[in-house]
Symmetry: C2
Subunit: 237 residues, 2 copies
């Protein structure tokens, strides 16, 4: 297997631990409005609304909507499903809560792994996050990229092939010269269908220990690693 010319990273779950961070960020709000709902369950339910919300934006009249906006909409939807009357809550509190997705901790191997990989490869984001959210998340977690590409640059969401292919094009690469690094089989399947190389990072705690919902997409990927430092030693040695 020849080496890729650049690495493109999925972010939520692969680079940052959204489950424990969203649990932490929502705990105080929930203790007031939904004291019987464990923050871990709330985090899982909120994340579950993300895929269908995004799908409504691909190839439909709605078009590209920033992930910040979708997080805000799915938050209201989830609270209403739990019979919370959101019209009684200060809109600033709800906006700050929707921005919890900007305060997500990187997994412990991420910064050292990226520092090693950066010596050899350009590292870019290939996430469904909008630029504003990514900039905030990078500053929060001390993450440094060569470019923020993916959804907003492509004006569409993964797994639309345009999102993968336009990232390679922006770097002057053929799809087969770019490798997606992701913790999700479904994302990697989309990348492979678009001609990209694939590197799977195992993140068994992404869903707080619960099984990942995309096991049916599992297959043999070009590289398989249990951390970014593990991937670095496979690619650099």
């Amino acid at each position: 297997m020849s080496l890729p010319k650049a690495l493109a990273f999925d972010i939520f779950g692969t680079v940052v631990d959204w489950h424990s961070s969203i649990s932490r960020e929502t705990r105080s709000f929930l203790s007031e409005y939904l004291p019987d709902l464990p923050p871990s369950d709330f985090a899982l339910q909120w994340r579950e609304l993300y895929q269908p919300a995004m799908r409504e934006c691909v190839g439909t009249q709605r078009g590209f909507v920033s992930l910040d906006t979708l997080h805000h909409e799915t938050l209201l939807k989830l609270l209403e499903a739990h019979r919370v009357d959101v019209s009684l809550i200060d809109p600033d509190i709800l906006s700050a809560l929707a921005h919890a997705w900007r305060r997500l901790d990187p997994w412990p191997d991420v910064v050292p792994g990226m520092n090693q990989l950066r010596q050899r490869f350009p590292l870019v984001t290939l996430s469904n996050a909008n630029v504003e959210l990514m900039v905030a998340l990078n500053r929060y977690g001390g993450l440094q990229w060569d470019a923020i590409l993916g959804a907003e640059f492509a004006r569409t969401y993964k797994p639309d092939p345009v999102a993968y292919v336009s990232t390679a094009q922006a770097l002057g690469l053929e799809p087969g010269q770019l490798c997606l690094v992701a913790g999700h089989h479904s994302d990697l399947a989309g990348a492979r269908a678009s001609g990209l190389m694939t590197a799977y990072i195992d993140r068994p705690m992404e869903y707080g220990g619960a099984p990942a919902p995309d096991q049916s997409f599992a297959q043999r990927w070009d590289w398989q690693a249990d951390s970014l430092t593990d991937l670095a030693s496979q690619l650099l040695n």
Copy 2:
């Protein structure tokens, strides 16, 4: 004057010294093919072809073309104007020469100034350079940005207002909350016409000491500095 929420940077001339770098990068080629032409003159002539080439891409059928491609086309045009038969030259040599624009030195104040400014502001590029060129240039010069925005993200070139306004939008800002940092009065005039704040960096050696071609656009800008470290002390104190 209130402070901006983020700083967007012009690159060629403002951040990197294209004149002395292009002179250095073309010297060996010119000594073989145009020994009587000083590399400094060649650099100035090559740069002069950039504005008209770009204008041909704004609001015309040609649409957005990467700056790498325009540099290649203007190189051939310039060599032909000097009666060099480019069909006799190895295409790889010409491509490598067109990529001289990826090997430009930052001015000495740039890295320390950016390190200071980054503590307080997100720093993004708002250049006509395409992403691939910017990534190469950043790696060459050790420059670190929060995001690569500008022309390719906007799919149009400055001074098209879309290039300025879409950079603010991507950061979730109103145009008036974003400040363009540039060494060119014409660029700053475009930014001001689009509602951005403006910071002028004086770069008297940009054209090797020759006068800048855009003096007629000079006006009083929101900030005026003679280096990025000077701008940092004005904005941070």
